[in-house]
């Protein structure tokens, strides 16, 4: 069982990353849950979602101790850093979250910094930053197959051919970046 927590500002596509991961789990006929954050946080400008992918029936769909955390802004990073399980992973949007000693950190989890906004900007499409992050996550912490992620992404964006190609490209750029992180 793998538990994801993906958090950031509304509009950064955090719910969408979770949606693709959950759909990819379904493509492999796994048990999945997707749960958006709901409450004043949304109004305060942050959004988050919990995703669980498991081989067996899922009890609680609420993720408070993620194996894999994806933090798209500084408030989310500060809030959820203590909650990642030891040995877990935290992917950061380093375009927004500064690399400063003033921020708390942890030595017992792997923290990976990815400048997704710059990478998306270089691609000429700022809005695919979240898909780039998805590619990095898939390269470093694959829970489902690459094919399942690709199928899930294609399945959701099939109506718009141009967008589909862009998403594929962004996923691949993220994937390559993730591979380079080792």
């Amino acid at each position: 069982m793998k538990k994801y927590l993906i958090a950031g500002f509304g509009g950064q596509g955090v719910l969408f990353i979770g949606r693709i991961l959950a759909q990819a789990g379904l493509e492999e006929d796994k048990q999945v849950t997707w749960l958006p954050s709901y409450g004043p946080e949304m109004r305060g400008g942050t959004a988050n979602c919990s995703v669980i992918i498991a081989a067996k029936k899922i009890g609680s769909p609420i993720v408070s101790r993620p194996d894999i955390a994806v933090m798209m802004n500084t408030p989310s990073y500060k809030k959820f850093l203590p909650h990642v399980v030891p040995g877990g992973f935290m992917f950061l949007n380093s375009s927004i979250i500064p690399d400063t000693a003033a921020l708390p950190s942890r030595a017992d989890i792997r923290i990976l910094r990815v400048p997704i906004n710059e990478m998306a900007h270089e691609m000429g499409k700022d809005s695919v930053a979240n898909i780039i992050m998805l590619g990095v996550i898939q390269a470093v912490t694959p829970v489902v197959s690459d094919a399942a992620i690709q199928a899930a992404l294609a399945g959701i964006s099939t109506k718009n051919h141009e967008l589909k190609e862009l998403n594929e490209k962004a996923l691949n750029i993220g994937y390559q970046y993730g591979v380079s992180l080792g």
Partner: protein
């Protein structure tokens, strides 16, 4: 084929598949995906979606449509559900089949949107006036939401009674894989009682009251018989690892899922514990619960100040300890918190038997 779907949307789709062709409602978060889905899809199946001016109007539209023999539904959330109570009481008295979805938000008062189950008393003890009971079903997964929506329409028609689906806001928003099995309606007699206003059948008049006391009591006695029939036949529950259990958690809906994870944690520590999950909140599954007479201690896990725990106590009697653990205001406990609460609450019983 399985697809990912939000709980609220799955309920709306299941209602359409079950032949619901009329929806009246007033949108309120976190139930709004239901009217939204109905607004999009109802026309395609030849039905009518209508946004009422208020919940009071919506429940009375539902009342009228049910009297005409149509499968009809409304969906709301806690404060809106409160506004509908007068209508639910009248619908019970008029013996009309209606399906109501209550996607709970917390209270008292306006209440936020976080997970809560604090409508339990209002749902199960008669939120409106008079001696009545709707059937109340509490799904825990999106798949179960579909199954129970199908069932709700059949039960409503069978008993000519309001049936309520109750779920937490986060369950309505949650996506899970879902498959729509073909809806197979239960064989039920035609609705000869319906005020259809056509053909040459005898005139029917649907009323919810009679003024003469003697006749009024006869009505009450008739309804009481129906309540007893429903109580006997419609108790539903699920269990998890109860076969050799010495202790049990009891929880419904999202709490049932959290408690299920807590059972695994406690089992890993060698404690023989299981989960009893009521699916019908009314009728409360007393018969099923009483089968587990060997249970040495119960913990009711709820997102409220402790409501269902009263029914657990009434069911198991005073000979067995029944404790309560809950969170409120939209907060949910982690499974670890539930496991810890269990060990604290049933400390004496655990030690008396020795941890096994």
């Amino acid at each position: 084929m399985k697809t990912l779907m939000k709980g609220n949307e799955a309920i709306a789709e299941a209602a359409l598949q079950a032949g619901c062709r009329l929806f009246f409602g007033y949108p309120i978060t976190p139930s709004t995906e239901i009217p939204e889905y109905m607004a999009k899809k109802m026309k395609r199946v030849g039905g009518t979606f209508l946004q009422a001016e208020s919940e009071v109007a919506a429940i009375n539209m539902v009342y009228g449509a049910a009297a005409a023999g149509e499968r009809v539904m409304t969906a709301t959330s806690t404060p809106g559900f409160s506004l509908m109570q007068e209508g639910v009481s009248y619908i019970f008295a008029a013996e009309l089949p209606v399906v109501i979805v209550d996607v709970m938000r917390h209270g008292p008062g306006l209440g936020g949107l976080g997970a809560t189950q604090a409508d339990y008393f209002q749902l199960t003890k008669g939120g409106g006036h008079g001696d009545y009971h709707p059937i109340v079903l509490a799904p825990a997964t999106v798949m179960e939401m579909v199954e129970l929506t199908y069932l709700a329409f059949d039960l409503a028609d069978e008993y000519r009674n309001p049936v309520i689906l109750a779920l937490e806001g986060i369950s309505g928003q949650m996506m899970e894989p879902v498959e729509f099995m073909p809806y197979r309606p239960k064989a039920l007699p035609p609705k000869t009682w319906a005020a259809t206003g056509i053909g040459d059948k005898p005139k029917v008049n649907i009323v919810s009251y009679v003024l003469a006391n003697e006749a009024g009591e006869l009505h009450n006695l008739h309804w009481a018989k129906k309540i007893e029939r429903m109580r006997a036949a419609e108790q539903r529950y699920d269990t998890y690892r109860m076969d050799d259990a010495e202790f049990a958690l009891v929880a419904f809906g999202i709490s049932g899922r959290i408690a299920e994870s807590a059972v695994d944690i406690l089992r890993a520590e060698g404690i023989r514990i299981g989960l009893f999950r009521p699916i019908s909140l009314w009728p409360f599954p007393t018969d099923g619960m009483r089968k587990y007479s060997r249970i040495r201690g119960w913990l009711s896990v709820e997102l409220s100040a402790g409501q269902m725990v009263d029914d657990v106590r009434l069911t198991v009697g005073s000979g067995t300890p029944v404790h309560f653990f809950g969170r409120q205001g939209g907060m949910t406990p982690d499974p670890e918190d539930v496991a810890e609460a269990f060990k604290m609450a049933l400390h004496n019983e655990l030690n008396a038997g020795g941890v096994r």
